[in-house]
Symmetry: C2
Subunit: 120 residues, 2 copies
């Protein structure tokens, strides 16, 4: 197993890519424990910097991500996770979190209504 370089907060960015379509779905952060859980459960687990807690993608929405492959970059300070997503990745209702251009133009269609999926 490669030794990952976590930052001074104990986190490493994880790029989540759809294994089939190659679309980038999201970027989130893992700590050592969420990386372990990701390996063990084959579902994506992250660490929320704002909520200061672990979370499994889809624990509330049901939109889990099944892990297919994991790659590590040259500096071992970023990981790339190829997943088979069930449902959409973005809590705003889009398939990918990258649904806007830098000018703010929305380039994806909403696939679910966040109000109906998230309780809070």
């Amino acid at each position: 197993m490669l030794k990952l370089k976590f930052d001074k907060n104990g986190l490493i960015p994880a790029i989540i890519q759809d294994a089939k379509t190659k679309e980038i779905l999201m970027l989130a952060y893992m700590n050592a424990e969420s990386f372990k859980r990701t390996l063990k459960t084959k579902k994506t687990w992250f660490y929320s910097r704002s909520r200061k807690k672990f979370w499994m993608k889809g624990e509330e929405s049901g939109n889990v991500q099944k892990v297919k492959k994991i790659y590590v970059d040259c500096d071992a300070d970023t990981i790339l996770v190829l997943v088979e997503p069930k449902g959409a990745a973005c809590h705003n209702g889009y398939n990918s979190c990258f649904y806007r251009t830098e000018k703010g133009k929305i380039i994806l269609k909403k696939v679910f209504d966040p109000k109906k999926v998230y309780r809070k």
Copy 2:
């Protein structure tokens, strides 16, 4: 233009993806100035945390990345840049920095010899 959320060090992670093949090439960090230069020159500019300086991808190796599209995620704290790469992205001689699995298995072929491309 969307207002990007730079972190407390003034940086934002930028995922670099091949516009054609959809392969993830690298992840690097931009500050406000390197983002501006990226927009202006249509080449990727980053900020090196270790060397504490701007750099343009390819300034030494010649392996520049022509910017095709820029997307911003839901929280505006990550950007995704689709590029047309000239040559390989990784300073270790691979097309992508993600050339290893989490177990350390190399899954890409080396396309150049770093010793011949980088002076230092």
